[in-house]
Point group: C2
Chain length 139, copies 2
DNA sequence: AACTATTTGCAACAATATTGCAAATATACT
DNA sequence: AGTATATTTGCAATATTGTTGCAAATAGTT
């Protein structure tokens, strides 16, 4: 049984063409994807609404996670850890390359914990770093 | 000379009613502001377009900085350090309260540096933490 | 194969963002 | 203070992005 099917079944989601293709896109893709990337990169064209709903479903089921940006988009990337419904625990650093514009999950770079002032109770942390990625530094 | 005027002049920006009022809003406001907050909280109502352009100008001149989010909004907050044109250096942690929904600049909590894999050259880091803020923890 | 629960596409709508251009305003200069 | 010049603003038109209800289509179940 292939990976795509595997992931969908494990989450108890019914297997549809849209979910299969979108999930595949994430599996094959190196970097994170925005809604717009998905719309333009799927062979079969799905309705925009389906893409929105599929992404939402995947996030809710711990299949993909969101990456915050400062440009009115949300990026999504495959969860590699064993995230479940509502339980995301991929607190890794995300790297945005200024050159190739790719956003990469640095799965092995854990977001460090910091000391907060009295009274602040942190629950989830996100860290996004901009710079030059390892591919682009060569050129 | 008041603070608002001071900031605008120091950046070499011409002083207009829109810029004065929007900058004032930032100075008075506790937390970060989204575009929508600005539209609804300014007494005199400016065109949406003016708000967009004003925010952009302020960011470019190091008057305000952006805070990434995962909900298709960009938050903006006053720069407290001496940022200039294109040179932002407010690498502090941002705290989003799940309760009161405010986003607070923790100016004294510096984003820690992390060790990146070979070839990755970080330039700017952002860290956003969700949780319960010091005001809300009391209730 | 038939039944049921879920998902999809469509349509309509709402919200958000971008651009060109002429009118209004701010600053610089005399 | 008055005029010239540079900058900013509002408007209109357009584009992009996101949401909702509902009927048709499809997937899982028996
Ligand atoms: Mn990631
Ligand atoms: Mn800040
Ligand atoms: Zn790169
Ligand atoms: Zn709070």
């Amino acid at each position: 049984m292939n990976q795509t099917l595997d992931i969908l079944k494990r989450s108890g989601l019914s297997v549809t063409e849209g979910r299969r293709e979108i999930l595949n896109l994430f599996i094959q893709s190196e970097g994170a994807l925005a809604h717009a990337d998905i719309e333009s990169n799927t062979k079969i064209s799905f309705d925009r609404v389906t893409v929105y709903r599929t992404l939402q479903t995947f996030v809710e089921n711990g299949i993909i996670h969101q990456i915050p940006t400062t440009d009115n988009t949300i990026l999504y990337a495959l969860c590699k850890d064993k995230c479940g419904s509502g339980h995301h625990h991929d607190e890794h650093v995300h790297f945005i390359c200024n050159d190739c514009e790719k956003t990469i999950c640095l799965d092995d770079v854990i977001v460090p914990s910091v000391k907060f002032p009295e009274g602040f109770h942190p629950l989830q942390s996100a860290m996004v770093v901009k710079g030059i990625c390892s591919d682009c530094i060569k050129n």
